[in-house]
Subunit: 300 residues, 2 copies
């Protein structure tokens, strides 16, 4: 049994990513347009609203212009398409993030296709997702990049190793599995994808040295299914009632930290694990887009 | 030990697929343009040339017009792009297949992007591959569809089961892994993707009830790495010297059939396994495209 389960703090990882991002912006020739990220959303109180405020703060800290682009309250798919086309054509905008998920009558996949791959900064359009299969995507989803980043930072055993991804969503689990299985700069890992229809989760995870959990099911990972000594990158994010604040909620991941203590080797906490790194990864991707579209930096 | 390893003949599977395809064509209203598949290639003696002749025969048998579109000997990427754009705009062409792989200066990914997803009949453009992640692809690669088809036909244990895919190519291994992991009509399987950098192949395959091998490495699958009683869908295709014909070559898969006899439960042979089903799946996908583009049939 591991003496103690390490908690892997995402904040120093985010700080290191942000520092590199700021240096790249500072290295641009004078007169270069500043990197600009547009955030498109319905202006409603959703979990995306919380993420959006984090984006605005991180952008300000990094030196990225943040353009808030709320849709009018009565806007439908046609207005959303027109807004995305306008941002795609606007040379002062380098990166566009679209609220996800979007309820009907909106269709996320149809809407995001209005962005060219360079501006689809979260890599969730079909063109970027498809290019992930041959390692040529312009962008990958920030949350998937963040999961890999935190695993690399803490040198978890995953490169070239057997790992598992729990969850098969098109914007988190599957892109992460593709990044992990890819040739370098991918992780060369042997990847098992498990999901809600996996009958024997313990069996599916048995050989994994690192488990990347993206299920959004609190308490899913516990000793009964996690092999002893494995590392866990907890990408799950759910809201549960907060016992300390009647009527309040708090964010939790997929891992049952109390149950896994002294059993797992390491665990990224929720909040404070993958979350802050996701915001930093999004800022880095914005600067990737900016360097490419402005012809500056290391990718002229 | 299984009493005898079943050899799973692909020809009756192909015949059943072809029969359904012919019925769909026959059901179209009189005067409907015939389904038309264009095959674009360099006109050189490559393995694709062999596949092309099979396509032409299968198309004739099914009632599909086959348009051979060789590039002139001195054509480069610009001529290829122009030809693909012409075929994409031509309403009498419903499906376009592009020779794969293409050597430099050609770039397969750049070229195939000139086709709209509906006409990218082998589902190998980034837009179709990306849409595989959320089950909305217009087409999937015929060889991946064929591997699933033959496994379904012979009721191999793979739906909802732990399976393995060996190989991570963008046009075979990874699309097949996505089809297998997908919600219904995907296979809901728990999928492990192994590849050339998998250090412990035996361990990676240990829980797989069906192994889909797309490595192109003759002899890779043998008792030392395959769990006893597993089924094998052999998608590998390699040329090796033919001991019976000095100077000749013959096609082999990834499985060592002699070594696996009496150990594996079932095995698709090469040739005669996945190959014939692949051609039938391509004809079916052509008719899918035709029904959609002409507004006939079950997908108006």
């Amino acid at each position: 049994m591991p003496p103690e389960t390490r908690r892997l703090d995402g904040r120093p990882v985010a700080a290191a990513v942000d520092e590199a991002t700021r240096r790249r912006i500072a290295a641009a020739p004078p007169g270069t347009r500043p990197p600009t990220l547009a955030s498109v959303h319905r202006g409603l109180p959703t979990p995306f609203g919380f993420y959006r405020r984090q984006q605005a703060r991180a952008a300000a800290a990094a030196g990225i212009r943040f353009r808030d682009e709320p849709l009018p309250p009565d806007a439908g798919p046609a207005e959303l398409a027109a807004l995305l086309e306008r941002l795609d054509a606007d040379p002062s905008v380098h990166a566009v993030l679209l609220e996800h998920p979007l309820p009907p009558p909106f269709d996320f996949g149809t809407a995001i296709a209005h962005l060219r791959p360079d501006k689809d900064v979260d890599g969730v359009g079909a063109a970027n997702l498809g290019a992930l299969l041959d390692g040529r995507a312009r962008h990958a989803p920030a949350v998937a990049l963040a999961a890999v980043e935190i695993a690399r930072h803490y040198r978890l055993p995953f490169e070239g190793e057997p790992v598992a991804v729990v969850g098969r969503s098109a914007t988190v689990g599957l892109p992460l599995a593709l990044l992990l299985a890819a040739r370098p700069p991918g992780a060369d890992a042997t990847v098992t994808v498990a999901h809600s229809r996996t009958a024997d989760l313990q069996g599916a995870l048995a050989r994994a040295r690192t488990i990347f959990s993206c299920a959004g099911r609190p308490g899913l990972l516990r000793r009964a299914v996690v092999p002893e000594g494995a590392a866990i990158v907890d990408v799950g994010l759910s809201s549960v009632p907060d016992p300390d604040r009647p009527g309040g909620v708090r964010a939790v991941g997929d891992a049952d930290g109390a149950d896994l203590d002294g059993w797992a080797d390491a665990l990224t906490p929720v909040p404070g694990g993958v979350g802050p790194v996701t915001v930093a990864a999004l800022m880095r991707s914005t600067v990737d887009a900016w360097e490419r579209l402005e012809g500056v930096g290391r990718e002229p």
